[in-house]
Amino acid sequence: MGKLELSGKPVIPGHANGFALVSREALSFWGGYDWKSGEITDRRHPLSGENAKGKVLVVPFTRGSSTTTAVLLEAIRAGTAPIAIITTATDFFFALASVVAGELYEKSFPLIALSESDFSLLKTGDQIEIVDNGKLIISN
């Protein structure tokens, strides 16, 4: 067991605490995320078959379809979304899902951007607590 503190950019500020699901590969939610269950369904993606519901999803950015935001919004409404997302750069698609979820349902989620070197320290199964100002406390 160790503890590690990292500081990222709070693209959408907020608090969350949960287990990490990590991939170095970008993900499209359209064709890649089943919003009815939270399962990652992109059969070409390393996280295929994992369930991200209630997890802290750690992926560098979104790829592919413009519909990623809409799929994530459905997941938020259905309660099958990750509780927070950590990326390497400000991801417009994830950020918009959080902003619209705030506007429609008062359910925005924290989105934190890390440097690539800090991002590479995270592993699936880490417990990640997101506190103020984009600070992360990681226990593994």
Binding site: T41, R44, G64, S65, A70, F93, L96, V99
Partner: protein, 421 residues
């Protein structure tokens, strides 16, 4: 960095132009701040991808805006819908889905938009011009507008496109700005036979590789020995925008911002140079096939939506032939393009072959395919990329002529001649 808002932007934000503009502007401003914009800029047009029905959240968003009286401020085209209003009853579309998808269509149509219902708005009369600032959704349309036309849009997601359309504004970020349009990575085509470059399947294969290798870095392709047409470039872009986050590529001597290699890089040196060999392309082609035997239930064409030229090519390929009765053969396009193809006489030939047509949507955006259809074949890298995850079906990729021959034979056959050399 703070965001500068004009007096009119501030009026919109405060609600002086009505509640729909206020909602759209508040999302726009929030996102402009998130992305570090200094200001907003005027747009001359928009393309709304949010028309695709996914579930109740997207519908609630659309109906919220519509009920607040939302109207678009600039000419705005609509992407594919979740429903072919003309033919959905011939397929496995559940009626509840049809009702919800229809409500979403009505909501976006009520905003004064142009009901193009196509993912290829650049092949309508609403095609933007070089240098125009636009706010487009739909990944394949974004990459085409930026790369092939030289219009300027960021890679915008669903629901943001409509906020830009309603306010007539977009954040001054990313690909709206000249400096961010420079190439970063050079893809050099190494001895790719001209015969391959003349065909249709080279482009999605190259695009699939480009998206995977560059992810979100702007690629410059050098070494073409033919001048590709719009349909070939659309296939390349759609593939790259599926396997990667590609919103712009340059092709030296072909696309408008790349008259020379130096112009494509805006005088900078490439961060990385990759030699694209036949071996690389063969591997990329293999990755697009997600089926392990030759069984075939259905050929699916038209992602992005078929153009008039593609209808013409297909008509020539199928003339006088009959597909195997055990195989379905589907072409998707917009209602307008399909009508044109009808007037031109192509549809009679295509339907005599046994093909069916679906308009305004596609197999990925409406639940039309019944369970018993499991083995698909296509010449679209976008269908090939998304069908396994979205539809849970096996799919094989090959050229248009292989798709036709396979439909006649009743099993997947692929001509390897050009790929072996």
């Amino acid at each position: 960095m703070t965001l500068y808002l004009t007096a009119k932007d501030q009026e919109m934000l405060k609600g002086a132009h009505g509640p729909a503009v206020k909602m759209a502007m508040s999302i726009l401003v929030r996102m402009a701040e998130v992305s570090g914009a200094n200001e907003l800029l005027d747009i001359t047009g928009s393309h709304i991808d949010s028309t695709v029905y996914i579930g109740d959240a997207g519908l609630e968003f659309a109906e919220r805006l519509a009920s607040l009286g939302a109207k678009v401020a600039v000419p705005t085209t609509l992407n594919v819908s979740g429903l072919d209003e003309h033919h959905w009853k011939e397929w496995a579309v559940p009626s509840l889905w049809a009702q919800q998808a229809h409500r979403q269509m009505v909501a976006y149509q009520s905003m004064g938009t142009i009901p193009t219902w196509t993912c290829a708005p650049y092949q309508t009369e609403m095609r933007p011009a070089f240098g125009q600032q636009i706010a487009w959704g739909e990944s394949n349309a974004i990459v085409f507008a930026n790369s092939v036309i030289g219009a300027r849009t960021e890679r915008y997601p669903d629901m943001f496109d409509v906020c830009c359309a309603i306010t007539g504004r977009a954040p001054a970020i990313g690909l709206h700005l000249t400096k961010n349009r420079a190439g970063k990575i050079l893809l050099k085509l190494m001895h790719i036979p001209q015969a391959l470059q003349l065909g249709d399947d080279f482009y999605p294969v190259l695009g699939h590789y480009l998206g995977k290798i560059t992810q979100d870095r702007i690629a410059v392709i050098e070494g073409m020995s033919v001048l590709p047409n719009d349909d070939q470039l659309k296939a390349l872009g759609a593939a790259a925008a599926s396997s990667g986050a590609v919103a712009l590529f340059h092709m030296v001597g072909v696309t408008p911002e790349a008259p020379t290699l130096d112009a494509a890089f805006q005088g900078n040196t490439p961060e990385e140079t990759i030699m694209v060999t036949m071996d690389i392309l063969r591997q990329s082609r293999k990755e697009l096939t997600h089926a392990d035997d030759s069984r075939l239930d259905m050929v699916v064409l038209g992602s992005p939506h078929f153009s008039l030229a593609e209808f013409k090519t297909l008509a020539a390929l199928v003339a006088g032939k009959k597909k195997n009765p055990n195989v379905k053969f589907l072409v998707t396009s917009s209602r307008a393009m399909t009508q044109l193809a009808g007037h031109a006489g192509f549809l009679d030939t295509i339907q005599a072959f046994g093909a069916q047509l679906t308009v305004d949507t596609c197999i990925l955006t409406t639940p039309m395919l019944p369970k018993e259809i499991q083995f698909l074949m296509t010449n679209s890298a976008k269908f090939a990329y998304y069908a396994p995850g979205l539809l849970d079906k096996k799919i094989a990729f090959s050229s248009l002529s292989d798709c036709v021959h396979s439909a006649v034979k009743g099993e997947i056959i692929r001509d390897e001649t050009l790929w072996e050399s």
